[in-house]
Protein backbone atom coordinates (compact mmCIF):
# COMPACT_ATOMS: atom_id res chain seq x y z
CA UNK A 1 0.00 0.00 0.00
CA UNK A 2 0.90 3.66 -0.22
CA UNK A 3 1.74 4.81 3.29
CA UNK A 4 0.87 8.35 4.33
CA UNK A 5 0.93 10.39 7.52
CA UNK A 6 -1.37 13.20 8.60
CA UNK A 7 0.02 16.70 8.27
CA UNK A 8 0.26 18.65 11.53
CA UNK A 9 -3.07 20.16 12.54
CA UNK A 10 -1.65 23.69 12.36
CA UNK A 11 -0.85 23.16 8.68
CA UNK A 12 -4.40 21.98 7.97
CA UNK A 13 -5.78 24.91 9.94
CA UNK A 14 -3.66 27.35 7.92
CA UNK A 15 -4.92 25.81 4.64
CA UNK A 16 -8.57 26.09 5.63
CA UNK A 17 -8.53 29.38 7.59
CA UNK A 18 -9.94 31.52 4.73
CA UNK A 19 -12.99 29.32 4.14
CA UNK A 20 -16.38 28.94 5.82
CA UNK A 21 -17.52 25.73 4.14
CA UNK A 22 -15.02 22.99 3.34
CA UNK A 23 -15.11 19.35 2.28
CA UNK A 24 -12.88 16.78 3.94
CA UNK A 25 -12.47 13.98 1.42
CA UNK A 26 -11.11 10.62 2.51
CA UNK A 27 -10.23 7.52 0.51
CA UNK A 28 -11.11 3.90 1.30
CA UNK A 29 -7.90 2.62 -0.32
CA UNK A 30 -4.37 2.66 1.07
CA UNK A 31 -4.84 5.58 3.46
CA UNK A 32 -7.64 3.71 5.21
CA UNK A 33 -5.31 0.78 5.84
CA UNK A 34 -2.54 3.01 7.19
CA UNK A 35 -5.13 5.03 9.17
CA UNK A 36 -4.25 8.37 7.63
CA UNK A 37 -7.30 9.19 5.53
CA UNK A 38 -10.20 6.77 5.88
CA UNK A 39 -13.69 7.49 7.16
CA UNK A 40 -12.44 7.33 10.73
CA UNK A 41 -9.64 9.86 10.22
CA UNK A 42 -11.95 12.18 8.26
CA UNK A 43 -14.36 12.09 11.19
CA UNK A 44 -11.71 12.78 13.81
CA UNK A 45 -10.27 15.67 11.82
CA UNK A 46 -13.73 17.09 11.14
CA UNK A 47 -14.66 17.09 14.82
CA UNK A 48 -11.29 18.59 15.76
CA UNK A 49 -11.77 21.38 13.23
CA UNK A 50 -15.31 21.92 14.48
CA UNK A 51 -14.08 22.16 18.08
CA UNK A 52 -11.39 24.66 17.12
CA UNK A 53 -13.93 26.73 15.21
CA UNK A 54 -16.38 26.64 18.11
CA UNK A 55 -13.69 27.65 20.59
CA UNK A 56 -12.56 30.60 18.49
CA UNK A 57 -16.07 31.66 17.45
CA UNK A 58 -15.36 31.05 13.78
CA UNK A 59 -18.12 29.93 11.43
CA UNK A 60 -17.16 26.69 9.73
CA UNK A 61 -19.28 24.09 7.97
CA UNK A 62 -17.68 20.77 7.19
CA UNK A 63 -18.80 18.24 4.61
CA UNK A 64 -17.41 14.75 5.17
CA UNK A 65 -17.04 12.35 2.26
CA UNK A 66 -14.94 9.22 1.86
CA UNK A 67 -14.59 7.96 -1.71
CA UNK A 68 -13.96 4.36 -2.65
CA UNK A 69 -10.74 5.50 -4.28
CA UNK A 70 -9.49 8.96 -5.18
CA UNK A 71 -7.28 7.53 -7.92
CA UNK A 72 -10.26 6.37 -10.04
CA UNK A 73 -12.14 8.90 -12.17
CA UNK A 74 -15.63 7.49 -11.59
CA UNK A 75 -15.31 7.83 -7.83
CA UNK A 76 -13.82 11.30 -8.08
CA UNK A 77 -16.73 12.26 -10.35
CA UNK A 78 -19.18 11.10 -7.67
CA UNK A 79 -17.76 13.69 -5.29
CA UNK A 80 -19.46 16.49 -7.26
CA UNK A 81 -22.85 15.93 -5.64
CA UNK A 82 -21.36 16.68 -2.20
CA UNK A 83 -19.71 19.96 -3.09
CA UNK A 84 -22.62 22.40 -3.12
CA UNK A 85 -21.46 25.65 -1.57
CA UNK A 86 -18.05 24.18 -0.74
CA UNK A 87 -15.24 26.73 -1.01
CA UNK A 88 -12.24 24.41 -0.61
CA UNK A 89 -11.39 20.72 -0.42
CA UNK A 90 -8.98 19.00 1.93
CA UNK A 91 -8.07 15.60 0.51
CA UNK A 92 -6.86 12.95 2.93
CA UNK A 93 -5.67 10.67 0.13
CA UNK A 94 -2.13 10.13 -1.11
CA UNK A 95 -0.57 12.72 -3.41
CA UNK A 96 -2.07 10.98 -6.44
CA UNK A 97 -5.58 11.27 -5.03
CA UNK A 98 -5.13 14.94 -4.14
CA UNK A 99 -4.06 15.72 -7.70
CA UNK A 100 -6.87 13.66 -9.19
CA UNK A 101 -9.47 15.60 -7.23
CA UNK A 102 -7.76 18.90 -8.06
CA UNK A 103 -7.75 18.09 -11.76
CA UNK A 104 -11.54 17.67 -11.78
CA UNK A 105 -12.89 20.50 -9.62
CA UNK A 106 -12.34 24.23 -9.96
CA UNK A 107 -11.81 24.65 -6.24
CA UNK A 108 -8.72 25.03 -4.08
CA UNK A 109 -7.62 21.50 -3.10
CA UNK A 110 -5.21 21.00 -0.19
CA UNK A 111 -3.38 17.89 1.01
CA UNK A 112 -4.22 16.63 4.50
CA UNK A 113 -1.45 14.06 4.43
CA UNK A 114 2.20 13.69 3.54
CA UNK A 115 2.68 10.66 1.30
CA UNK A 116 5.68 8.64 2.46
CA UNK A 117 6.30 5.38 0.62
CA UNK A 118 5.00 2.08 -0.75
CA UNK A 119 5.22 -0.32 2.13
CA UNK A 120 3.80 -2.96 4.41
CA UNK A 121 2.40 -3.20 7.92
CA UNK A 122 5.08 -4.83 10.07
CA UNK A 123 2.77 -4.81 13.05
CA UNK A 124 -0.12 -2.52 13.94
CA UNK A 125 1.18 1.03 13.83
CA UNK A 126 4.53 0.14 12.24
CA UNK A 127 5.07 0.55 8.52
CA UNK A 128 8.15 -0.26 6.44
CA UNK A 129 9.10 0.81 2.94
CA UNK A 130 9.25 -2.14 0.55
CA UNK A 131 9.03 -0.75 -3.00
CA UNK A 132 10.27 2.35 -4.82
CA UNK A 133 8.34 1.67 -8.03
CA UNK A 134 11.60 1.46 -9.97
CA UNK A 135 9.80 -0.12 -12.92
CA UNK A 136 12.27 -2.99 -13.26
CA UNK A 137 11.47 -5.56 -10.56
CA UNK A 138 14.29 -8.01 -9.80
CA UNK A 139 12.76 -9.64 -6.72
CA UNK A 140 12.89 -13.02 -8.48
CA UNK A 141 16.68 -12.89 -8.42
CA UNK A 142 17.03 -11.28 -5.00
CA UNK A 143 14.92 -13.87 -3.19
CA UNK A 144 12.01 -11.53 -2.55
CA UNK A 145 14.10 -8.87 -0.77
CA UNK A 146 14.24 -5.55 -2.64
CA UNK A 147 17.67 -3.89 -2.65
CA UNK A 148 16.29 -0.77 -4.35
CA UNK A 149 13.94 0.07 -1.49
CA UNK A 150 15.77 -1.56 1.42
CA UNK A 151 19.44 -0.80 0.72
CA UNK A 152 20.41 2.73 1.74
CA UNK A 153 22.53 3.06 -1.40
CA UNK A 154 19.91 1.42 -3.64
CA UNK A 155 22.60 -1.01 -4.81
CA UNK A 156 21.41 -3.51 -7.40
CA UNK A 157 24.57 -5.52 -6.75
CA UNK A 158 25.81 -5.59 -3.19
CA UNK A 159 26.60 -5.44 -0.40
CA UNK A 160 28.88 -2.45 -0.16
CA UNK A 161 31.81 -2.29 2.25
CA UNK A 162 29.63 -0.74 4.94
CA UNK A 163 27.74 -3.93 5.72
CA UNK A 164 28.73 -5.27 9.11
CA UNK A 165 27.18 -8.11 11.15
CA UNK A 166 23.96 -7.81 9.17
CA UNK A 167 23.62 -4.07 9.67
CA UNK A 168 24.01 -1.09 7.38
CA UNK A 169 26.70 1.45 8.14
CA UNK A 170 23.87 3.91 8.80
CA UNK A 171 23.33 2.22 12.13
CA UNK A 172 22.28 -0.90 13.97
CA UNK A 173 18.60 -0.08 13.47
CA UNK A 174 18.97 -0.43 9.67
CA UNK A 175 19.33 -4.04 8.50
CA UNK A 176 21.60 -4.60 5.50
CA UNK A 177 19.30 -5.55 2.61
CA UNK A 178 22.07 -7.43 0.85
CA UNK A 179 22.84 -9.48 3.93
CA UNK A 180 19.13 -10.34 4.03
CA UNK A 181 19.26 -11.32 0.35
CA UNK A 182 22.27 -13.59 0.85
CA UNK A 183 20.78 -15.16 3.99
CA UNK A 184 17.49 -15.88 2.25
CA UNK A 185 19.14 -17.21 -0.91
CA UNK A 186 21.19 -19.52 1.28
CA UNK A 187 18.15 -20.74 3.22
CA UNK A 188 16.38 -21.46 -0.08
CA UNK A 189 19.41 -23.33 -1.46
CA UNK A 190 19.73 -20.75 -4.22
CA UNK A 191 23.03 -19.11 -3.36
CA UNK A 192 24.10 -19.50 -7.01
CA UNK A 193 21.67 -16.69 -7.83
CA UNK A 194 23.92 -14.35 -5.88
CA UNK A 195 26.46 -14.70 -8.70
CA UNK A 196 23.98 -13.28 -11.20
CA UNK A 197 24.83 -9.63 -11.70
CA UNK A 198 21.85 -7.37 -12.13
CA UNK A 199 22.05 -5.10 -15.16
CA UNK A 200 21.56 -1.36 -14.66
CA UNK A 201 17.90 -0.45 -14.23
CA UNK A 202 15.81 0.38 -17.27
CA UNK A 203 16.29 4.15 -17.38
CA UNK A 204 13.03 4.81 -19.20
CA UNK A 205 11.06 3.08 -16.45
CA UNK A 206 12.87 4.76 -13.58
CA UNK A 207 11.26 7.56 -11.55
CA UNK A 208 14.05 10.00 -12.37
CA UNK A 209 13.25 9.76 -16.08
CA UNK A 210 10.21 12.02 -15.67
CA UNK A 211 6.48 11.45 -15.28
CA UNK A 212 5.66 7.87 -16.22
CA UNK A 213 2.63 6.55 -18.06
CA UNK A 214 1.16 3.13 -18.68
CA UNK A 215 -1.15 2.69 -21.67
CA UNK A 216 -3.05 -0.58 -21.95
CA UNK A 217 -5.31 -0.90 -24.95
CA UNK A 218 -6.95 -4.00 -23.48
CA UNK A 219 -8.47 -1.86 -20.73
CA UNK A 220 -9.86 0.90 -22.92
Amino acid sequence: MIVARAKPFEAVLAFLAPYRRVALVGCKGCVTVCAAGGTREVGILATTLALEARRTGRALEIVEVTLERQCDPEYVASLGTSLEGVEAILSLACGAGVQHVASRYALPVYPGNDTLFIGVVEQPGQFQERCRACGDCQLGVTAGVCPVSRCAKRLRNGPCGGSSHGHCELGAEVPCAWQAIVDRLESLGRLDDYERLLAPADGAAAPQSGPRRLDREDLR
Binding site: F9, T47, L51, R55, G57
Partner: protein
Protein backbone atom coordinates in the same frame (compact mmCIF):
# COMPACT_ATOMS: atom_id res chain seq x y z
CA UNK B 1 -21.03 1.10 25.94
CA UNK B 2 -20.08 -2.41 27.06
CA UNK B 3 -16.34 -1.73 27.28
CA UNK B 4 -14.05 1.32 27.36
CA UNK B 5 -12.00 -0.41 24.68
CA UNK B 6 -14.84 0.24 22.24
CA UNK B 7 -14.81 4.00 22.66
CA UNK B 8 -14.02 5.86 19.43
CA UNK B 9 -12.00 9.07 19.33
CA UNK B 10 -14.73 10.84 17.40
CA UNK B 11 -17.35 9.90 19.98
CA UNK B 12 -15.29 11.52 22.72
CA UNK B 13 -14.74 14.68 20.69
CA UNK B 14 -18.41 14.88 19.80
CA UNK B 15 -19.29 14.87 23.49
CA UNK B 16 -17.35 18.15 23.71
CA UNK B 17 -19.08 19.46 20.59
CA UNK B 18 -22.37 18.53 22.23
CA UNK B 19 -21.58 20.86 25.12
CA UNK B 20 -19.57 18.79 27.60
CA UNK B 21 -16.93 20.74 29.52
CA UNK B 22 -15.13 17.52 30.37
CA UNK B 23 -15.31 13.84 29.55
CA UNK B 24 -14.42 11.04 31.94
CA UNK B 25 -14.00 7.66 30.28
CA UNK B 26 -14.50 5.00 32.91
CA UNK B 27 -13.35 1.46 32.28
CA UNK B 28 -12.02 -1.45 34.23
CA UNK B 29 -8.59 -1.53 35.78
CA UNK B 30 -5.76 -3.45 34.15
CA UNK B 31 -6.17 -7.16 34.77
CA UNK B 32 -9.80 -6.69 35.70
CA UNK B 33 -11.31 -6.48 32.21
CA UNK B 34 -13.92 -9.05 31.19
CA UNK B 35 -12.74 -8.61 27.61
CA UNK B 36 -9.09 -8.63 28.70
CA UNK B 37 -7.82 -5.84 26.45
CA UNK B 38 -10.27 -3.03 27.24
CA UNK B 39 -7.88 -0.72 29.13
CA UNK B 40 -5.05 -1.33 26.63
CA UNK B 41 -7.36 -0.43 23.74
CA UNK B 42 -8.87 2.56 25.47
CA UNK B 43 -5.57 4.17 26.46
CA UNK B 44 -4.20 5.04 22.98
CA UNK B 45 -7.61 6.23 21.85
CA UNK B 46 -8.01 8.54 24.80
CA UNK B 47 -4.43 9.72 24.26
CA UNK B 48 -5.24 10.53 20.63
CA UNK B 49 -8.42 12.33 21.66
CA UNK B 50 -6.42 14.39 24.17
CA UNK B 51 -3.94 15.31 21.44
CA UNK B 52 -6.79 16.36 19.17
CA UNK B 53 -8.27 18.47 21.98
CA UNK B 54 -4.90 20.18 22.38
CA UNK B 55 -4.88 20.79 18.61
CA UNK B 56 -8.24 22.49 18.96
CA UNK B 57 -6.88 24.66 21.77
CA UNK B 58 -8.86 22.86 24.49
CA UNK B 59 -7.04 21.80 27.66
CA UNK B 60 -6.44 18.03 27.37
CA UNK B 61 -6.94 17.57 31.09
CA UNK B 62 -10.64 17.99 30.36
CA UNK B 63 -10.50 14.37 29.22
CA UNK B 64 -9.51 11.52 31.49
CA UNK B 65 -9.49 7.74 31.43
CA UNK B 66 -9.83 6.04 34.77
CA UNK B 67 -10.20 2.44 35.84
CA UNK B 68 -12.60 1.45 38.57
CA UNK B 69 -14.11 -1.84 39.66
CA UNK B 70 -17.81 -2.08 38.82
CA UNK B 71 -18.56 -3.21 42.38
CA UNK B 72 -16.82 -0.31 44.10
CA UNK B 73 -19.54 2.31 44.15
CA UNK B 74 -17.81 4.48 46.72
CA UNK B 75 -14.63 4.78 44.66
CA UNK B 76 -16.66 5.45 41.49
CA UNK B 77 -18.51 8.28 43.22
CA UNK B 78 -15.24 9.73 44.51
CA UNK B 79 -13.66 9.63 41.04
CA UNK B 80 -16.64 11.31 39.42
CA UNK B 81 -16.96 13.95 42.13
CA UNK B 82 -13.25 14.75 41.94
CA UNK B 83 -13.33 15.04 38.15
CA UNK B 84 -16.49 17.14 38.19
CA UNK B 85 -14.95 19.52 40.73
CA UNK B 86 -11.84 19.97 38.62
CA UNK B 87 -13.80 20.57 35.43
CA UNK B 88 -16.06 23.03 37.21
CA UNK B 89 -12.98 24.92 38.36
CA UNK B 90 -11.75 25.09 34.76
CA UNK B 91 -15.08 26.55 33.59
CA UNK B 92 -16.58 26.17 30.14
CA UNK B 93 -14.07 25.74 27.31
CA UNK B 94 -16.25 27.77 24.97
CA UNK B 95 -16.43 30.85 27.18
CA UNK B 96 -14.98 33.99 25.62
CA UNK B 97 -12.23 35.62 27.62
CA UNK B 98 -13.63 38.20 30.01
CA UNK B 99 -12.71 41.77 29.21
CA UNK B 100 -11.73 43.69 32.34
CA UNK B 101 -13.98 46.59 33.18
CA UNK B 102 -16.97 45.39 31.18
CA UNK B 103 -20.19 43.81 32.30
CA UNK B 104 -22.11 41.01 30.75
CA UNK B 105 -25.05 42.13 28.59
CA UNK B 106 -28.41 41.82 30.40
Amino acid sequence: MPCAGRVEVRLILEAFLGGADGVLVLGCEDGDCRFQLGPQRARPRVALARARLADAGIAPERLELRGVEASNGARLAALVNDFTARIRALGPWTAPAAVPGTEAAP
